[in-house]
Symmetry: C3
Subunit: 110 residues, 3 copies
């Protein structure tokens, strides 16, 4: 039986910021895996002007249980004024879904 997990997509200004955020989320056990999708180019209106930015896109894989906490974590540490954080639920194959859930267990206080 497939296991629901959560994908979270965000864009960061450069590889260093992306690596730092990915590693912080993994260290906090808020994501089981973070995939750096590499350089992308975004176009958008910002304060009335058409802007174009080179960015780096990250795809976080986390559990349903930890998704809201991961989102707050990413928002708090993201360098942008209005970061793009997009979240949706998907089905994972059983082994992978169980692994995501196990890796994002809240650490015990010892």
């Amino acid at each position: 039986m497939n296991v629901p997990v959560v994908l979270m997509l965000s864009t960061l200004p450069d590889a260093a910021a992306a690596d730092a955020l990915a590693q912080a989320a993994l260290d906090a056990r808020l994501a089981a895996c973070v995939t750096n999708l590499g350089a992308v180019s975004s176009q958008y209106h910002w304060k009335g002007v058409l802007e174009s930015s080179q960015e780096v896109q990250l795809l976080f894989k986390t559990s349903v249980a930890r998704s809201a906490e991961l989102q707050r974590f990413v928002e708090a540490r993201h360098p942008y004024e209005t970061p793009e954080i997009l979240v949706w639920q998907v089905d994972a194959s059983p082994g992978y879904g169980q692994w995501v859930n196990a890796e994002t267990q809240r650490p015990l206080h010892v």
Copy 2:
């Protein structure tokens, strides 16, 4: 509270076609942001033969309210006979979701 927004994924034959479509959608206020995900390679059967194409992938971010109109716009301007247009709803962080909704307001006729 998160805000529902719509992701639309499409593939274009080259960077020039991708840039033109992205900019047209932004100018029409049918998308708040278009991310060029760069070069991809697609394999598929077409009229019975296995084909492989180098393409450029675009990810449009728009509001729920403007999604159907964006889709018609992309279909009408897309250079392919049967363009790939894939649409799904996601949750955006509040600031980003509000920005997407504001940027895709239908312009007032003045």
Copy 3:
């Protein structure tokens, strides 16, 4: 009217493994199109250690009817112990959705 189709995302260790899996799925009519999203870099904990892997990401487009069979096919042929297989349903534009459904018809036994 849009047509529901299924996206399946997986990561493979290298381009050769990705090409082989994509072509096998297409030959079996379990996917209408497979897009190679190119090189990505994944970070994750594995058996207690923070690992980083260079991988190749594939995005399969298939019908709702053939999605479970595609998933079993990918799991059976994937070189990883615990492959990442992530599945979600999206809406396709009518022409594309009909094409996905037609291309993933189970072959007749003759």
